[in-house]
């Protein structure tokens, strides 16, 4: 019993890790304060769930989820490329509301507030990951692969150009880099990983509805990225493990389940406020938000 609970927690840590490092790529390494990250997660989850319910194999749904989110990430970046700071945050937040509104109202496709039940668990060429232990292995492999890929991207010349754009966009343009293109690619890659995280989530929980992707869900991820520290992958991973597990003892103190949800949000928002006041760089951060 306790083992099953830990496996469940570790699966959630893995999914959150993918979500957080992908947001880190946009916010920390590219300086794009994207408050619409949950929308890509939502797009990935719905794409994957709808295809899987049609009987398509998992690997296909999984990749399709990533690519669908990537396309939307690229499309969102086109109009918002030139926006900065507050305006970019508001526009991406707005995008997130449009996606939730569509998920709620396009009942012909998404069944609206009823959600999509019975999403099949993944299986690869006859090998089923329905058992949570094997699912955990799958999540860990994908999370590690995402970590390595994003790390590779950051260390590549492309990643250096992204950081240069974040630090001084004008200077980077003077050096002959197309910063608008760089930012678009960054947002698209970030969205791809959020999409595959969504696909894992949908096939793990086997049920999704629009409320799984509300604004509230952004707080833990944003909290992880900022507390771990901007532009630090190591910090993000440590913060993911600590912060995902942190509110869990609440369940054992004996609060009713209707209180545990809001309590988690309170913990995350308080932590976020405190870190912003006393240590705005987070624990391993290299830069500060501007």
């Amino acid at each position: 019993m306790i083992e099953a609970y830990f496996i469940h927690l570790l699966i959630l840590v893995g999914i959150y890790a993918i979500l957080a490092i992908s947001l880190q790529l946009a916010v920390g390494f590219s300086g794009l304060l994207n408050l619409g990250h949950i929308a890509f997660y939502c797009i990935g989850a719905y794409t994957s769930a709808l295809l899987a319910l049609q009987g398509l194999p998992f690997w296909f749904c999984f990749l399709a989820a990533g690519f669908m989110a990537m396309v939307f990430g690229f499309l969102l970046s086109l109009p918002t490329n030139k926006l900065k700071g507050d305006y970019l945050a508001l526009a991406t937040l707005g995008f997130s509301f449009v996606v939730t509104a569509v998920a709620l109202n396009w009942t012909g496709l998404t069944r609206g507030p009823l959600g999509l039940p019975g999403i099949p668990k993944p299986s690869f060429f006859g090998f089923s990951f329905a058992n949570n232990f094997w699912f955990l292995i799958l999540v860990l492999i994908i999370a590690t692969a995402s970590y390595l890929i994003i790390k590779r991207i950051i260390q590549s010349p492309f990643g250096k150009a992204l950081e240069a754009t974040r630090d001084d966009e004008l200077a980077t343009r003077v050096l002959g880099k197309n910063t608008l293109k760089l930012k678009s690619y960054s947002l698209a890659i970030s969205a791809f990983f959020a999409g595959i995280a969504g696909s894992l989530y949908a096939s793990y929980i086997t049920f999704i509805d629009p409320s799984s992707f509300s604004l509230m869900q952004l707080i833990p991820v944003l909290c992880i990225v900022i507390i771990g520290g901007l532009a630090s992958l190591k910090g993000t991973i440590i913060a993911t493990v600590v912060l995902t597990l942190l509110p869990e003892p609440l369940r054992f103190i004996g609060f009713p389940s209707s209180v545990v949800g809001p309590m988690r949000q309170i913990i995350y928002s308080l932590l976020l406020l405190l870190i912003l006041i006393y240590r705005p760089r987070g624990f391993f951060g290299k830069i500060e938000l501007e």
Partner: protein
Amino acid sequence: MFTQLLVNGLIAGAIYALVASGFSLIYATCKFVHFAHGPVIALAGYFLYLFFSLLGLNFWIAIILAIILAAFFGLAINVLVYKKFRQRKASPVILLIASFALLILFESLILIFFGADVKTIGFIKIAKGSEFAGAIITPLQIVIIIASAVLFALLFLLMKKTKLGKAMRAVADNKQVSEICGISTEKIYNWVFIIGSTIAGVAGILVGLEQNLEPTMGTSLMIKGFTGAVIGGIGSVPGAILGSFLLGLVENFGIWFLPSGYKDAIAFIILFIFLLFRPQGILGKKNQSN
């Protein structure tokens, strides 16, 4: 049908404008996005519920108490939280994230103390609306329109005619120069939060009477308020009021073409169009977008 939609649009617009005027007053003066304006609105409604429906106070006393508490609550947020950030010279983006964390924090607190179910204040018996040029309008809706018109007139007089209003505009225009002239900017910030939150309190009470109370009402109104403010020009209070009425009308006429659930999506599509082509809004000045 046309006049009914027009009336509905005006009522929605009046409520959005109450939200947007306080929000944009704070943005214009303090230069950051105050998302926690949403919970101030929600709390005013919940205070009225607490005093009138639970404690049984006189209705008018309960209203006055709720508005005063909302004003104090706004002031307390500014003094206890935002002031700390200003002392550290935090960037507007950090304040934006902090105010977002505050929004989630207070919304979760309301959820814990009052529960997730919809609350009814129940002062106004369901009144039969009167016919007015082919549209049905209830007495409360007339009150909403009159109250907002009176408040906007008072706000206009305050900004243009009083010493405080002039000082507020001076700080909004140039903080350093107004400090040199002997204006205490911290004091002005406090006043701005008191005035903005008082208007928010009135909005919360009117919405509470018209549509009942939900813990998430603050967030949804805040979103509409800032959409209205961005459309009208985020740093300009008359612009915010104009933009909000425009938003209310477009949303309500939009249901002619789309199901009513898409109201939020319509709001954001307009927001996007403005962010793309006219980020300074209808009445905003161009240099304010930077």
